[in-house]
């Protein structure tokens, strides 16, 4: 337990230090993200801006922004660490591989949460958007993020084997913006597209989060209508499949000798 905590804190500390060293880049990114949200709000609301109607959009956008940072960081980190040789050093730790991976994921969660909270707070204060804070939203967000991290395990594994996955990661995060109901609820999608959308990593999380946070739906009610069980199943599948694919890719990379190649 102590070694697990040590691994988590060590990775988190390192990530925060490195993130801080890129502070000006990150500040620019955060401003860009805020501006894109304002632009999207006008677009979705037909050229008007209604703070009351923007809450739903902001919730979806925030979850997508989480996904964007996690996906882009995962592929970028793998690439950078392979080039730097620190990836191989990491694999030379006596700690078990799953613990190191958990440490990386946890550190990414912490740093991403900080990065997401900053523009969200800025937008809420600047544009007067009211998002009711209910504790029920927290477990929903956590389950959604667990599924998202499961999904990024697939990308991490691919990065170990194929290396150049930046473009793929960029494509994926852009697709998620439009296909997961981040901007527009999937109720407005054609049935076939809505079905596909529900299988994606953050779609169900966004839907349940909106119900719980904005429409005051209880967790019991979300469980009863099947939306919460599907969210749980969806996240569990992503974690399970992601883990299997990552381990397979890791094994393949060791056989291929590509852990340190780029």
């Amino acid at each position: 337990m102590r070694s697990a905590l040590l691994a988590l804190s060590n990775e988190t500390y390192k990530r925060l230090l490195i993130t801080w060293s890129y502070k000006f880049n990150i500040l620019t990114q955060l401003v860009t993200v805020g501006l894109i949200f304002i632009g999207l709000s006008f677009l979705v609301q037909g050229g008007h801006f209604e703070p009351a109607q923007s809450a739903s959009l902001l919730l979806g956008y925030v979850v997508w922004f989480y996904a964007r940072i996690v996906i882009m960081s995962t592929s970028g980190d793998m690439m950078r660490e392979t080039q730097a040789g620190t990836m191989e050093q990491m694999y030379m730790s006596p700690a078990p591989g799953w613990l190191l991976l958990l440490g990386r994921m946890f550190s990414l969660l912490v740093s991403t949460t900080i990065l997401v909270l900053l523009p969200t707070a800025g937008l809420v204060l600047l544009l007067g958007i009211r998002i009711p804070l209910h504790w029920e939203g927290l477990p929903i967000l956590l389950i959604t993020l667990i599924g998202l991290f499961g999904f990024t395990l697939v990308l991490s594994g691919m990065a170990l084997v194929f290396k150049q996955i930046d473009a793929l990661a960029d494509l994926v995060q852009n697709l998620l913006l439009f296909l997961t109901g981040s901007l527009l609820s999937i109720d407005h999608f054609p049935a076939w597209l809505a079905t596909i959308a529900r299988t994606l990593p953050i779609t169900q999380g966004i839907e349940v989060l909106r119900q719980v946070m904005l429409n005051r739906q209880s967790l019991l009610s979300a469980w009863a209508d099947g939306s919460l069980p599907w969210l749980l199943i969806n996240s569990a599948i992503y974690v399970g499949v992601g883990w299997l694919i990552f381990k397979w890719c890791e094994r393949f990379a060791r056989h291929k000798g590509s852990l340190g190649q780029y």
Binding site: L17, Y22, A84, M90, P94, A95, H255, L259
Partner: protein, 338 residues
């Protein structure tokens, strides 16, 4: 493997034991054999030089020792622990600076790197801090310990990488071309540091380098690889002594301007204003007489003929050339049979 030399038993128990190690990449017709069935024993408390041209299989072998590449066949034991089965214990035995210009986080300071890698490798906090302070002071980095590593010179960065490999005080240190790209002063510092690791701290150092003069100065034992095959694995002194028996220096009056016959291509020529010194291996007495006859025909008076001790570079070149010739002979034989 070409068994050119008899194996000499070292007195200390081995730090690394490699048995029947092979690594193949690719499949079918595109198989590349990076390492071919090598057996190796690295004695503890010595500098072990792993030499070979680019693509010889050194780095692949080092990475298999570190558990970063899975061997196709064979077994590696580090201080008695099996790399495939006892990974955690193996990782506690080794520290490594792998090939390449980095190994550390350039955005972090030297101190932050040491703390991060120390915790990553499970080093207790108190011991880690004491050791980090000592390493930074000994490597002359103490005054700049809080500066980001990206602002350091190449030599200083390499020192930080070495310090990170040593933060857990591992008994075995693997250094893959640690002086690559360093200036003379920085390379000297690294070299002195390697010698201290072994002489003062009793560590085992596995060193791969193309700087054979450095290898000759530091190594107790060397292994020479070519195309995945181990050509030699000997204590350095014995290796040089073995070659002494077939290594000659011939000094003649005047300047040798003609090239030597093909069979003497391994010879090196050094000239000054009045004499020429020919140094090289002669495997048969008749070949020596043949060479003397050749210089005599050129009208160059003979000054001296001596049996001499070659340096590691000359032995290395000779072994590589021998390996190449044998490979060509094999190909010719196979070709004629087909």
């Amino acid at each position: 493997m070409l068994n050119i030399f008899p194996t000499v038993q070292d007195t200390q128990p081995p730090a690394i034991e490699i048995k029947s190690l092979s690594k193949e990449y690719g499949r079918g017709q595109h198989v590349v054999q990076a390492v071919k069935n090598i057996h190796l024993t690295v004695p503890a408390g010595q500098v072990f030089g792993f030499l070979g041209a680019n693509g010889a299989g050194k780095t692949t072998t080092i990475k298999m020792i570190c558990g970063l590449i899975t061997p196709t066949t064979g077994r590696i034991c580090i201080n008695g622990y099996d790399v495939a089965r006892e990974r955690a214990m193996v990782m506690r035995q080794i520290g490594a600076v792998l090939e390449g210009t980095r190994n550390i986080y350039w955005r972090l300071s030297a101190w932050q790197n040491l703390m991060y890698f120390g915790r990553l490798k499970g080093c207790p906090r108190k011991a880690m801090i004491t050791r980090a302070e000592r390493l930074l002071q000994e490597l002359d980095l103490w005054d700049r310990r809080y500066d980001p590593v990206r602002l350091f010179s190449r030599g200083m960065q390499q020192k930080v990488a070495i310090a990170c490999a040593l933060i857990t005080d591992p008994p075995i240190v693997l250094l893959d071309e640690p002086t690559l790209g360093l200036d003379i002063q920085a390379a000297r510092t690294v070299k002195e540091w390697i010698a201290r690791l072994v002489n003062e701290q009793g560590k085992t150092v596995i060193l791969t380098t193309h700087q054979l003069d450095m290898a000759q100065e530091l190594c107790h034992r060397v292994a020479i690889m070519r195309k995945g095959t181990l050509l030699a694995d000997q204590p350095l002194a014995e290796l040089l002594h073995l070659f002494r028996q077939e290594y000659y220096q011939i000094k003649v009056q005047g300047l040798l301007t003609h090239s030597l016959p093909e069979q003497y291509q391994n010879f090196t020529l050094k000239t000054d204003d009045t004499t020429t010194l020919l140094s090289g291996p002669v495997d048969q007495q008749s070949a020596l007489y043949g060479l003397l006859s050749h210089v005599s025909q050129l009208g160059l008076p003979l000054i001296s003929v001596e049996r001499a001790e070659p340096n590691l570079e000359e032995v290395f070149v000779h072994l590589i050339e021998t390996g190449r010739k044998e490979e060509n002979d094999e190909k010719r034989t196979v070709g004629s049979l087909q």
